[in-house]
């Protein structure tokens, strides 16, 4: 006999995710992932001015704010064949680095850490011992007994007055919280520090884009001009601030985030052996700057099949297709056939149970997410996919870095294919991005010194310069949560069709026509549940993917059947 366990809402994520799992003898036998909210932003985008699409697309998500704006402007620039000035590309890259630093740190401390860290246990810690332990782990300047004592007092007060706030009803009696009190106290202190740090690092977005969340962008460049003689443009004062913020980000990532990650990981080595999921990985690629046309990549497009890192493949963009077999949409070609994003269709059609409901009909349709597949196979996207791609291609010293972390933890390479491996990969790539920011910054400064201050290409700004027939383009962006692609058709100066294939859609989709589960669904199988009412084990693995559901739910609308032609190079 199996029992159905439901976790809804999955919290500490963006958006509305529901997991249903069949449990046999205390173990998960089958799992089902469902997105339970839809807005229809792609329908809203139809008929709009392509130069404005980024602002609509950006509102797909406010946690990974910027990523949809980037994919959108890149798609429109691809369709209209616009070349972006180098300074604008560098400023965009600095903004991308910022979102990686911000998003991954916030994910680790504020969305994921409470799966491993028990703030109630931190009350038992000795602040002096905690400071000694912290100094052993990293040179972070704050690690004094007084600092830890203050944090402990703050937490104690919440507990004593019975107003635990966001920590209320955590699974604090679960036996699988394994950190000693001192390690818990360090992590809680850094949870609070990270909460303050993240208000600052986003100032790079504020300087270049005016605000965060949801900074501003421009098709053809960036909105902010560079003028060293103006107090309102990007000037030496603003650039110095950016440099300081990059240095602070490097310090926080290298001296707080990564040491904490490794320290926590060392207490949970069993989680380096479960939660793998599919073993197939896709990175659709992050262009060196903005265009995919020149074939130069910061993260090269890479497919890894069945853990075979040695025999990795390049990506064929014609092989991306989406099913709606188990999604609340109708396809005119029948629900068992997939469609390429340039040929997508949409018809919202909710066939789930009438709310309030207890269970979804997982044999029928059960999610607002479609099911993207590569070469008709489900695949995982995200930090682990990218880290494996860079490992496979031996770029940026990734092999040495991964091997060293694993060696220090006493684990084999296979340990990367796991819940904790995914979480480790996220830290490894954050280190890569923050250090690259320094390089992009120096390149920008060097251009400015040479007298190049150009940040915008206005040649194709006026829609009358565009062809009026149907043109199309796509924009790629490796977003913090994984491979993101936007696909746009423009006709008569308006958006004829707009589609987004999103990281969490890849990872959290329902089954496809062949019944193949997604990464979320596959990764939960085999998990032991200590107590189905306190499903900590499910949260650990699902959070290791960093779900973003508002991103994942989207829809397509395209009446025309046309031949798919995707040329990248």
């Amino acid at each position: 006999m199996s029992k159905r366990v439901v976790v809804d809402p999955i919290t500490r994520i963006e958006g509305h995710l529901r997991i249903e799992a069949d449990v046999k003898n205390g173990k998960i036998d089958k799992a089902y992932s469902s997105g339970t909210m839809v807005r229809g932003i792609e329908i809203i985008l139809k008929g709009r001015d392509p130069r404005e699409a980024w602002a609509f697309a950006q509102r797909i998500c406010g946690v990974c704010t910027t990523v949809h704006a980037f994919a959108s402007i890149r798609a429109v620039e691809d369709a209209l064949d616009i070349t972006v000035p180098l300074n604008a590309s560098l400023i965009r890259k600095l903004m991308i680095g910022t979102i990686f630093a911000h998003d991954h740190v916030v994910h680790f401390y504020h969305l994921h850490a409470l799966d491993w860290v028990n703030p109630v246990s931190a009350l038992k810690a000795d602040p002096k011992k905690t400071a000694e332990l912290a100094k052993k782990v990293s040179p972070y300047s704050k690690s004094s007994p007084a600092y830890f004592r203050e944090v402990q007092k703050k937490i104690k007060q919440q507990v004593e007055r019975g107003q635990l706030g966001i920590f209320n009803k955590g699974y604090w009696n679960h036996p699988d919280y394994k950190l000693p009190p001192e390690a818990n106290l360090i992590a809680v202190a850094h949870y609070l520090d990270a909460l303050v740090w993240q208000t600052k690092v986003v100032q790079i977005h504020t300087i270049f884009g005016g605000k965060n969340p949801h900074p501003n962008f421009a098709v053809g460049g960036v909105p902010s001009p560079i003028n060293m003689d103006s107090d309102t443009a990007i000037n030496s004062d603003r650039l110095a601030r950016v440099e300081t913020l990059i240095d602070e980000a490097i310090d926080f990532v290298d001296n707080v985030y990564l040491p904490d990650l490794v320290a926590i990981g060392s207490f949970y080595k069993d989680w380096f052996r479960k939660g793998e999921g599919l073993g197939n990985f896709v990175a659709l690629g992050e262009p060196e700057f903005d265009s995919h046309k020149d074939g130069k990549w910061f993260i090269p497009p890479t497919f890894i099949h069945n853990r075979d890192v040695k025999n990795f493949e390049d990506i064929d963009y014609n092989q991306i297709k989406e099913y709606v077999t188990h999604s609340w949409y109708d396809y005119s070609v029948g629900d068992d056939k997939p469609l390429h994003p340039f040929n997508g269709e949409t018809k919202l059609h909710y066939t789930g149970p009438e709310p309030p409901y207890d269970y979804l009909d997982v044999n029928g349709k059960y999610s607002w997410l479609k099911s993207p597949r590569y070469k008709d196979m489900p695949a995982e996207v995200g930090p682990l996919a990218r880290t494996l791609a860079l490992y496979a291609r031996d770029m940026y010293g990734t092999r040495e870095i991964v091997d060293k972390y694993l060696k220090d933890l006493g684990l084999p390479f296979e340990a990367m294919f796991s819940t904790m491996g995914r979480t480790l990969a996220r830290g490894i790539e954050t280190h890569l991005y923050v250090h690259k920011m320094k390089k992009w910054y120096n390149q920008l400064i060097s251009n400015i010194k040479k007298g190049n201050t150009n940040t915008f290409n206005d040649e194709k700004w006026d829609p009358s310069t565009w062809p009026s027939n149907d043109i199309k383009g796509f924009g790629l962006m490796e977003a913090p949560r994984g491979a993101l692609s936007h696909w746009v058709h423009i006709e008569d100066h308006k958006i004829k069709n707009y589609q987004a294939v999103v990281p969490t859609t890849w990872n959290a989709s329902p089954r496809d026509a062949k019944g193949q589960p997604s990464a979320y669904e596959a990764s939960l199988v085999g998990h032991d549940l200590w107590n189905p009412h306190e499903p900590l084990e499910i949260l650990r693995t699902i959070h290791s993917f960093d779900p973003c559901l508002a991103c994942a739910v989207h829809l397509y609308d395209e009446e025309n059947d046309e031949k798919i032609e995707v040329k990248v190079l």
Partner: protein, 346 residues
């Protein structure tokens, strides 16, 4: 119940530290310094207000903005200023324990808690947004019942926002539309400034009542003036000096962005005064025209890059206007404003 001051004293705060916090809070609320004793008194006598934060058709951008407050840091907000009993993006438990947390808080603090709502509410189909198997509308009505005050945070909750943009595929409505008989404090913006969100909550704590609202439910303190009224580029507008394209000479010199489509003249928000992320900048300061994200229907009411002077209220949301600037803003501005309430207005 213990006051916030009691809590701070126990943590070893001196009277001096405490008054510093009170002064900071007073400044954050844009109150005059004479109010510091009143704020201090409130902190000495009032328990932390309980907040229940619900998310529906949202992007969590307002939650993100909430934790970017800088006048009062998010750590102080979460540990000292409020008791956040339910917030899907931040809370530890999931599933049934999360829902139980909310139910207990609603019961224990009935008539006392602040309900914050982020995101619009779909009405087109019961299946468009469910949480724990229940519809958004059902969840909202239940939580509104025992709330002392209801705050709609962001343009989606205030006006129906992006889900409500033409053709509003899911029949999204605002909190006020979903709760026609309740007073709703609208804190619009896409997202609103983090410091404003925190200040509105803190003001309720300090003054014990909802702030003065305009006819559209917005706190007058933060939405009483247009961005144009207080824009530092206003002198260039007055002298007729405009940027016409990103990165042109006018843009490099910081001239007015009116001809590039700036909606500052018709947008009520505090961007040009409080500014963003520690008062560092705001869209216009970083070279992009304001596109009016705090106003109802801004997605459909004239294009981001079309000057107000050529935007008419009757223009189809999806027509492309060519950016040709003529005349002054005043006429168009008035037209834009008088059309308020078409879809989402209170």
């Amino acid at each position: 119940m213990e006051s916030i001051y009691d809590l701070l004293k126990k943590r070893g705060y001196s009277r001096r530290d405490f008054l510093k916090l009170a002064a900071g809070l007073t400044a954050a609320l844009s109150l005059s310094p004479e109010m510091i004793p009143k704020v201090a008194h409130a902190l000495e006598t009032k328990p932390k207000p309980v907040v229940i934060w619900l998310e529906f058709q949202d992007c969590a951008g307002c939650s993100e903005s909430f934790i970017r407050s800088t006048n009062i840091l998010p750590t102080e907000v979460l540990l000292d200023i409020i008791d956040l009993e339910y917030h899907e993006t931040l809370m530890a438990p999931a599933g049934e324990f999360a829902e139980a947390s909310k139910e207990e808080a609603m019961k224990k603090y009935k008539g006392q808690y602040i309900l914050v709502v982020e995101g619009a509410i779909p009405t087109g189909n019961a299946g468009y947004c469910t949480i724990a198997g229940r519809t958004a509308l059902d969840q909202l009505k239940e939580a509104a019942e025992g709330a002392a005050a209801i705050m709609a945070v962001g343009s989606c909750a205030s006006w129906n926002g992006i889900p409500g943009a033409d053709p509003n595929p899911t029949g999204a409505i605002s909190v006020q539309q979903a709760l026609p008989n309740k007073t709703v404090i609208n804190v619009p913006g896409c997202p609103p400034i983090g410091d404003v969100i925190v200040a509105v909550i803190a003001e309720y704590l300090v003054l014990g009542k909802i702030p003065k609202l305009d006819e559209m439910g917005r706190p007058v303190a933060y939405y009483g003036q247009t961005i144009h009224d207080r824009c530092y580029r206003r002198p260039f507008y007055n002298s007729g000096q405009f940027a016409e394209s990103f990165d042109d000479e006018g843009a490099k010199n910081g001239y007015c962005l009116y001809k590039m489509g700036c909606k500052g003249p018709v947008t009520r928000n505090a961007c040009s005064t409080i500014r963003w992320n520690g008062g560092l900048s705001f869209p216009i300061q970083s070279g992009h025209p304001c596109f009016g994200c705090a106003e109802p229907d801004f997605w459909d009411r004239g294009h981001i890059y079309t000057p107000l002077s050529v935007v008419s209220t009757g223009i189809g949301a999806k027509e492309i206007g060519t950016a040709v600037a003529v005349g002054a803003a005043a006429g168009a501005a008035v037209k834009w404003i008088t059309n308020i309430g078409k879809k989402g207005g209170a």
